[in-house]
């Protein structure tokens, strides 16, 4: 996994977006929620400091974009971690225990694969309140299937290695073998798939927010901003174009990096 194989431009763009999104409360004089009644619908203007103009409530567009990114990335990260925890535990347990337990657990994964899961997430978010915290748990709870499959496959190949057998002979319990020996050896592959899960989750969050089920005003996210922008694209096309392009760029960069990491780890393992 040499870092030179990573797509540099995507990495640079992604890191810039990350830094800007993290630093926005400190570097901008504007916030994302205070309406400013004498600065409504400004066109991009350098002198006033509204680099991309303001929206219909006089809020700075660039600042809102960065806050939108913050929320999208935060939700994506937390949801991916949730799916990672569930997926790794499920996969490693199935793979290590094997036999009938493995059959049963993987059969369950197969069944869940054919669930219409976006509709389920929509139902979940509606029913349990439009709470951003619950949102990511809901997303994470339905997107762990891929990771579980991959982890199980890896565990099957690790299970008969000498160090695992040595641990078993030494009298370690299954639980400590899993937590002390198997999971640390799975971290590499799991991190690779984490980078591929993040863009998917960003898209799911955007979709839910777009439908009005995600982040609630005044909090914003890229999906919310695209929906708002679409409603007034005739008069202010910039309000649609900016968040739409930013979301596409974000997902594109994540996909490029994830693909490159996966290729590198494929090469390393085979």
């Amino acid at each position: 996994m040499t870092p030179t194989r990573l797509p540099r431009p995507s990495l640079v763009v992604l890191i810039s977006i990350l830094v800007a999104a993290l630093a926005v409360p400190w570097i901008s004089p504007y916030d994302y929620y205070t309406p400013s009644w004498d600065e409504l619908d400004l066109a991009p203007h350098l002198a006033s400091g509204h680099l991309l103009g303001t929206d219909g409530l006089g809020r700075d567009l660039l600042v809102r974009l960065m806050w939108g990114c913050r929320i999208s990335l935060l939700v994506a990260l937390l949801a991916s971690l949730t799916s990672l925890v569930i997926g790794v535990l499920w996969g490693v347990t199935a793979g290590y225990l094997g036999g009938r337990t493995d059959d049963l657990m993987m059969r369950a994964v197969d069944v869940l694969y054919s669930l219409p899961f976006i509709p389920f997430v929509i139902v979940l978010t509606v029913l349990f309140g439009r709470n951003i915290l619950l949102l990511f748990i809901a997303i994470g709870a339905v997107s762990w299937l891929d990771i579980a499959r991959i982890v199980r496959g890896q565990t099957l190949s690790l299970r008969h290695r000498e160090f695992i057998e040595a641990a078993r002979v030494g009298g370690m319990t299954s639980f400590s073998i899993i937590t002390r020996h198997l999971i640390p050896n799975l971290i590499g592959i799991v991190l690779v798939y984490l980078t591929l899960t993040i863009p998917t989750v960003i898209l799911i969050e955007a979709l839910l927010s777009f439908l009005g089920l995600g982040a609630q005003a005044p909090l914003t996210s890229l999906g919310v901003m695209i929906a708002d922008g679409a409603a007034q694209m005739q008069s202010r096309p910039l309000l649609l174009i900016c968040p739409a392009v930013l979301l596409a760029v974000l997902v594109y960069c994540c996909n490029r990096i994830g693909d490159a990491l996966r290729d590198a780890s494929d090469r390393a393992s085979g």
Binding site: P116, P119, F120, I122, V123, L211, Q234, V251, N255
Partner: protein, 307 residues
């Protein structure tokens, strides 16, 4: 063949049962009932409404009642659209979804397949890089970005096409929704086709065909195409899930009266029966698409035995 289809359909029953049970459990675990919000209701009226819809019974009883109802093919009355059954709502919306989803998959094949073949035969040259670059872009740009941007360009700025509305299925109204929905799938189809054809072209039997002196297009069409299509067929299952998800967005952007709209509205309004009905329908469609994909696979690849 027929026995295989039947067995697969029987095997789908547990999957559907899981879907139904999950949907039912979720909706009943949720705080608040469908008639809790809105204006204050006289307790007697509320009780009578709840009695009509059997909401006053124990939950297990409601579950069994619902299962029996579904077994008869009846998804029950809608809670919000009074005097309308979920079956009627689905019958209204489904043709729209099937038209748009079917057309989108067709467009994806018609555009993506040639693009992928072109890229594979021109492997490593600029046409390959160009078409693969475009398709990576297509994968990264989600439907909810493409759809409003298409409207902005073709409906608002250029005014060539209507911005939305079903318009009784007027072809002009269909162009933008179908284009927006198919865009990511054009990209996927092109990438899968390229990857698969590149591999097939390296097979010994293709070298034999070339050695026999067959012209390139005959090799491509007669010998290479069939195995190239195999991975595409298995993509049909995931693609159908994606089209369903995408159509929820498409319908809300273009204001189309399809099932996705009913679903989102129903979810907002706690229309239990509508949401459950649509979820079950989606599950059924996915199961069907997977079965269809497996059948096509076996038909294309004689090495696969249906058993």
């Amino acid at each position: 063949m027929l026995r295989y289809v039947l067995r697969r359909l029987v095997a789908a029953v547990p999957t559907m049962l899981v879907i139904i049970t999950l949907a039912f459990a979720l909706l009943h675990a949720a705080p608040g009932g469908p008639f809790d919000e809105g204006k204050e209701m006289i307790p007697e009226i509320k009780a009578s409404i709840e009695k009509t819809y059997h909401l006053d019974e124990a939950v297990p009883l409601q579950y069994l009642r619902y299962l029996a109802q579904i077994a008869r093919g009846d998804l029950g009355p809608s809670f919000q659209y009074r005097n309308t059954s979920v079956n009627e709502l689905i019958a209204q919306g489904l043709p729209i979804d099937l038209t748009i989803g079917g057309l989108a998959l067709l467009v994806a094949l018609l555009v993506g397949l040639p693009l992928g073949v072109l890229a594979a035969t021109q492997r490593g040259r600029w046409l390959d890089h160009l078409s693969m670059g475009i398709s990576l872009l297509g994968i990264s740009v989600p439907v909810l970005v493409i759809a409003p941007l298409l409207i902005l360009v073709f409906a608002v700025t250029l005014q060539w096409l209507p911005a939305g509305d079903w318009g009784d299925g007027n072809p002009r109204n269909l162009v933008l929704p179908v284009l927006a929905l198919s865009a990511p799938y054009i990209a996927y189809v092109a990438r899968i086709t390229r990857g698969s054809l590149v591999e097939v072209l390296q097979a010994p039997y293709i070298r034999t065909a070339r050695a026999k002196g067959l012209p390139a297009h005959i090799i491509l069409l007669r010998h290479a195409m069939k195995p190239t299509l195999l991975p595409l067929v298995s993509f049909l299952g995931p693609a159908s899930i994606g089209v369903i998800t995408g159509s929820i967005v498409i319908e809300s952007v273009f204001g189309l009266p399809g099932i996705g709209r009913f679903f989102v509205n129903g979810a907002f309004n706690r229309d239990y029966t509508l949401v459950m009905g649509v979820t079950i329908l989606y599950g059924g469609l996915i199961v069907l698409a997977n079965l269809l994909a497996d059948l096509c696979y076996a038909w294309l690849d004689p090495r696969v035995r249906l058993s």
